[in-house]
């Protein structure tokens, strides 16, 4: 496996293969990087600043700093229960999804990695089928199933399908990690008289913190950003997670762009803060989740 966490250049490789580039090359590199960075950042900064302007100023001065800083745009949203309920819903759904994914996938992957039983290979391939197609392919039958189970418009109606669709990737990541737990540990544990389940709880899980973190990040981020599942499964606005809430808000205040922009900024703020605070884990988590697939 390529260690994506090592992007800071601990491995000898491409980065070290070149001496510090000369002046002209540096100019070209920095010029290009700054242009692309501007293309990435300008829309984001305009959004954040736009939330601090009046609608009139937005029209004449979309780029620059506000002449009068309208902190009230942000304040009103921050003091509204709507904003917090939305984030709370997202947090609850993502938290439940993550906890269930970790528990269910780790147990299954442990069994698939360590226990020899008839059909193990078939079962692994069965779970891997889930990686081949997007949620949308079966969304209507899924809706009907959730409805028939009486879970429509409940958090669990969103959580359970999300867990199910995340299982393929999670089991794959876990199994690959668990298989590398040294065999000697296993033999020692058996001599001590402990069974598989004790071993799982007291040896495998404590040793697996990195992969638990990776799977948790993938599950949490996917759920936090998921739009289609809550869109289909939830009806009442007070249960909406933020991607739905933001669309409703945009629909209500569509012409008051300054409010919509403030709302967007505040809803993506948690993501941006967490991303910069834990960037190493998130980058490696999200790309490893992808690479292993």
């Amino acid at each position: 496996m390529t260690d994506l966490a090592a992007t800071s250049g601990r491995q000898p490789g491409y980065a070290e293969s070149r001496r510090r580039p000369d002046f002209v090359t540096q100019l070209y590199i920095y010029g290009s990087l700054f242009i692309v960075a501007a293309i990435v950042l300008v829309p984001l900064l305009t959004t954040a600043l736009g939330g601090l302007k009046t609608l009139g100023e937005l029209r004449v001065n979309p780029f620059g700093l506000p002449t009068q800083w309208q902190w009230a745009n942000y304040g009103d949203i921050l003091f509204s229960s709507r904003y917090w309920r939305m984030l709370g819903n997202s947090f609850l759904i993502a938290g439940l999804t993550t906890a269930l994914t970790l528990a269910v996938a780790a147990m299954a992957a442990f069994t698939l990695a360590h226990v020899r039983f008839f059909g193990a290979g078939f079962l692994m391939n069965y779970f891997l089928l889930g990686l081949m197609f997007p949620i949308a392919t079966a969304i209507l039958p899924l809706f009907i199933r959730i409805r028939d189970l009486g879970l429509l418009d409940s958090y669990m109606g969103v959580v359970l399908p999300q867990v199910a669709f995340g299982l393929g990737m999670a089991i794959l990541l876990f199994r690959n990690f668990f298989r590398n737990v040294p065999k000697e540990l296993f033999d020692a544990a058996f001599v001590d008289g402990s069974g598989y389940i004790r071993f799982f709880w007291y040896v495998t899980l404590p040793l697996s913190r990195p992969i638990l973190a990776t799977v948790a990040i993938v599950a949490f981020v996917n759920s936090w950003n998921n739009y289609i599942m809550p869109l289909i499964m939830l009806n009442s606005q007070d249960k909406y997670p933020w991607p739905l809430g933001i669309m409703v808000y945009q629909g209500e205040f569509s012409t008051d762009w300054q409010l919509v922009l403030a709302f967007i900024t505040l809803t993506i703020l948690p993501t941006v803060i967490v991303f910069f605070a834990a960037q190493k884990h998130i980058v490696s988590g999200l790309t490893a989740g992808a690479v292993k697939g």
Binding site: P141, L167, T287
Partner: protein, 319 residues
């Protein structure tokens, strides 16, 4: 947690196995005489199998079955119409636009986004101050939710308040209503897709570049190779596993694009920016045409599986 109480009605019997299995887990270590493998097989596997079968595999099968009916979702599906849903789908101009758009997204992802990502990956892999910061900035759009990115760009493209409009008026052009124009709306959407996803591919390429043995470059230097020769003869061939991976993600991601289209255009104007999944949403889900919607799902499924297997056969032979 205040919300925990509201969970109770929604709690399903399906969650129980996962929650319960941990309690007997500690005890059963001492009961190993019964057999070592039975407890773990009986406790650890069923939750995953049950969830996965119930919510992933069965719905796929059911989509195939429902697609043969004209069904509103209530009662039982009893109006069997054979392949008529697929025929309707094939005749729908909007669906063909959706297919074309999905194709276009794949082409742009491969022809524009991947080279861009690779180019930037080589740039930030140089030993220069600030490279890490640039990497993070480029990765940032990928972390944002598609819905948020779509809304941000809906504002950027807005004809009255947006950036594109004010840039156009600065340059003396008439202000364009980009997303309301049938001919250019899809290109505006494509630009957002590249903006959102190039950072992800760049990160893959950075990892790929790091695994290339640096002595190969030294050897090339000794042979007097130019920068471009080193790129085409060393970097590209050694990077090909990463490139194939990146292509795979670009294709799979393109096929399921939905979240970003909804806030940007919702598939409009006049269906010009539909993708397969937005088409499924607009014509299958919002109108509760379960049979028709399932037929779209089946088509999407067949395309995904064909691509996945075809791709493996062609490209992944050596991996």
């Amino acid at each position: 947690m205040a919300q925990a109480t509201s969970l109770a009605p929604g709690k399903s019997p399906l969650v129980e196995p996962a929650a319960q299995s941990r309690a007997p887990a500690r005890r059963s270590g001492g009961l190993r005489n019964i057999g070592r493998t039975w407890p773990v097989l009986v406790l650890f596997l069923p939750p995953a199998i049950l969830l996965f079968t119930l919510f992933v595999i069965l719905p796929i099968g059911e989509a195939g079955w429902y697609s043969l009916f004209d069904w509103s979702g209530y009662g039982r599906p009893d109006e069997f119409i054979g392949l008529k849903n697929f025929e309707l789908l094939w005749r729908s101009g909007a669906f063909r636009t959706a297919l074309t758009n999905n194709g276009l997204i794949i082409v742009i992802s491969l022809a524009l986004q991947l080279p861009l990502a690779l180019w930037l990956a080589t740039l930030v892999s140089h030993r220069i101050p600030g490279a890490t910061v640039f990497r993070l900035i480029f990765f940032l759009p990928y972390v944002l939710a598609d819905v948020a990115a779509g809304l941000i760009w809906r504002f950027i493209y807005d004809g009255d308040y947006g950036l594109v409009a004010s840039i156009a008026s600065l340059l003396g052009f008439e202000t364009p209503y980009v997303l309301a124009d049938r001919t250019i709306a899809i290109y505006a959407v494509l630009a957002v897709i590249v903006w959102k996803y190039f950072g992800f591919h760049m990160m893959l390429f950075i990892a790929g570049l790091q695994s290339i043995d640096k002595s190969l470059y030294e050897a090339a230097d000794i042979d007097g190779a130019t920068g471009w020769q080193k790129f085409t003869n060393v970097t590209l061939p050694l990077l090909s596993p990463t490139i194939r991976l990146s292509v795979f993600f670009a294709v799979v991601g393109s096929l399921q694009l939905f979240d970003m289209i909804m806030p940007l255009t919702g598939g409009g104007p006049s269906n010009s920016t539909q993708t397969m999944v937005t088409f499924l949403y607009t014509y299958g889900i919002t109108r509760m045409k379960v049979g028709f919607g399932s037929a779209i799902g089946v088509v999407l499924f067949v395309i995904c599986v064909t691509l996945a297997f075809g791709y493996r056969r062609i490209f992944m032979k050596n991996d």
